[in-house]
């Protein structure tokens, strides 16, 4: 089953639309009764999107939701999603894939903040850039992403994989400030560069294949490792010593100045 949602024109396109109802499983019962919150108003899904349904499915894993049009203010899609697929043909707003447990989200454009926040399983692939706090925990939360796979083909903003507790985060481009801060498990791979990685980390592994600037002085250098594929030589650090951490930070180039 394919559900194609095309965002219609809106009077004020800046008003955010909270759409935690857009998860593949929800469409098995039909489109009727699905609502979204546009600002402070609850509207039927069909008021905000042009909805086309093709075929049928027996279970959520057979459902693919396709989002078209301008969805850059569409929040919380795929929240608690367990199976199926969401494909966003463009940009997506904040909190995409909140608490996701399974299934797959593919974003052909960029994602706003909190992509895959507190994700527990499944896969998210973002072809464009992701904004701040991708794969992290929400305010005050001590566990960010706990499982699954999150890949950003472009760059990520600040605080990527903050409080990472499990699963795998891959950033193909650069990261902003403080990726992997308070990390306690899982793996974070940054193919580009970043600043001040992994402050207060207590566990897990972070690999920086570009350069890490503003390296924190509270990491103990423990040798080098050869990174496969490619045979790149990385410096191995342990820390954050300030927090009696036992995390691993691998960096190709690093400097203490910013």
């Amino acid at each position: 089953m394919r559900v194609i949602l095309t965002a219609g024109p809106r009077k004020n396109p800046f008003i955010p639309v909270e759409a935690e109802t857009i998860v593949p499983a929800r469409f098995l019962q039909g489109v009727d009764g699905i609502t979204v919150a546009a600002g402070n108003r609850i509207l039927p899904l069909t008021d905000v999107f042009l909805v086309e349904v093709e075929g049928t499915a027996a279970d959520p894993s057979g459902v693919e939701v396709v989002l078209r049009g301008d969805n850059s203010r569409l929040k919380r899609i795929g929240e608690y999603m367990e199976a199926g697929k969401i494909r966003v043909e463009g940009n997506i707003g904040m909190h995409c894939g909140n608490f996701m447990k399974g299934g797959e989200i593919e974003i052909l454009g960029g994602a706003d903040g909190w992509l895959g926040r507190e994700m527990r399983g499944g896969r998210i692939l973002c072809h464009g850039n992701a904004s701040h706090y991708c794969g992290s925990g929400y305010r005050g939360e001590k566990h960010g992403m706990r499982g699954g796979y999150l890949e950003v083909r472009g760059n990520a903003g600040d605080f990527a994989a903050e409080y990472l507790a499990g699963g795998e985060v891959v950033i193909r481009g650069d990261c902003g400030d403080m990726p992997g801060v308070e990390m306690k498990g899982g793996t974070l791979t940054i193919h580009g560069s970043c600043t001040r990685p992994c402050g207060n980390m207590t566990g897990g592994t972070c690999t920086v294949l570009g350069s890490a600037r503003g390296m924190l002085p509270t990491f103990r250098r423990t040798g080098t490792v050869v990174h496969e594929p490619g045979g790149v030589i990385l410096t191995r650090f342990e820390g954050d010593v300030a927090n009696r951490g036992k995390g691993t930070l691998l960096a190709r180039e690093w400097q203490y100045t910013l």
Binding site: Y138, R139, G140, E141, K142
Partner: protein, 566 residues
Amino acid sequence: MTELLVKNAFVIDPLNGIRGEVMDIAVRDGWIVESVGDGAEVIDAAGCLTLPGGIDSHTHICGTKVNFGRYMMPEDMRAGRTQRRGVMHSTSGYSVPTTYGNSYRYCAMGYTSVLEGAMAPLEARHTHEEFAATPLQDTMANTLFDGNWPVMEAVRDGDVKRAAAIVAWTLAAVKGFAIKLTNPGGSECWGWGKNVHCIREMVPYFGVSPAEIIQTLIRANEMLRLPHSVHLHCNNLGVPGNYTCTIGSMDLAPDLNPDRQSLYLTHVQFHAYGGTSWKDICSKAEPVAYTVNRKPQITIDMGQMMFGKTTTMTADGPMEFNLYRLHHNKWSNHDVELETTSGIIPVYYSRTSVVNCVMWAIGLELALLVKNPWQCLLATDNPNGGPFIKYPEIIALLMSRRYREEELKTLAPGTHSRITLPSLDRELDWHDIAVMTRAGQARALGIRSIGKGHLAPGAEADIAIYPIRVDKTDPSRQYREVIQAFQKTAWTVKRGRPVARDGEILVPGVNKTIWARAKVREELDMGRDPEFARNFDRYYTVRMSNYPVQDVYLQRSLCMESEAQL
């Protein structure tokens, strides 16, 4: 004129000696009267347990540190969310909810009066502003004097009258209700990076001991004839082996007041630990409870700890720092100029931790071992021991041995040898519970005279009607029904108006703030005392004239005046 008749109510009203009678309660204009006319609104309370409105004599729901708990714990706001509905505001939060969340949840449980456990005088405005947004409970504020410089100077000089005069001036200035001593002396020590560990240690510079502060203020309190007694959070909270310090503090209290206790010790569960470290902590509820049994001048509250997530917040700064070193989580610390300190950290009380299990047992042991329920009140030191929404569970635990045994089975291995709870058979009855949740509080706080905590004609019409048939319920077996009934009243009546029906709030509500003013002779009025004014301007960051809370901060207030005998 508005009239209300609560018909066929099964009433337990301990202050008037009513131990369960079916009767009608007539209400006119917010007060209970002998009878009302035929046109009165009728509530049929047949088959419902009807009690005076609940009173919480120690809770933290308003003020700077509660609000800082909200700042610090954004994750707490994920729980307890309700949408705006009818007259109800939207609410959120679990251990430190929004003010309306607190108010609605208390109201659904039948609570109509609450006492904020600790208000720093300098930050009183914030407390009063939040009181205004807690519309369904009458509020009172304990005012902190534990590290008050002028008071400690008066204590050092042995001048009880001056200490009393300072208390009188401060209470009237900040619209406070009673004297609160949180780790007396300890908060001043914390400014020097130290703490006092028991009542005979000295506070640096001032050269006074906690014992002297406690004794002086107990006498000052009675000289001022304040409604409540000194409200004490003992030194050395939460340290294994601290029960000796608690008993020592109890021994300081003379019996000075025939109508109520002379010293109220709060959250005694945190002060009844034996052992020498966290490894060998054990319950010392027995000696503490026996001391209470020997001393009618003492009233305590349980400070029961309940398992789950919560936030601890207290004016005991050094203690919170010690907790922070245990948990390594977030921590906030605050110094209030020449008055006190505070600290906040989030905690999770777990059944897998022997220490937490012992704490849980101690609170219940205290309530079961203190013979007179008037001397041991039910509270969790909300939210320190657990949020107040757990009160119904505590009631059921006290009423049912079977429930306690079931819970005991779930505790961490190794707990049983450290506690006496498994050997306690006592099951409290409905009357005991009514005492521990309203009548006892009204007596302890001294607010019976303004019509709180009872249902005789002349009382304020705060009534809680719980949907449970006392004659057909055996609480020791049907404890689940007891929990359910106390979680949600059929009706809550506040000042003669039905304010909640089956947990739904019916009116926006306007509360009142109760505060105390002791009239002192002109020459003891600190507002005119040159030395007091000079030190005030020298050490405070605010001017003395800007210090008092203006009347505009109190929307409705009731001043309990007394003639001081100085």
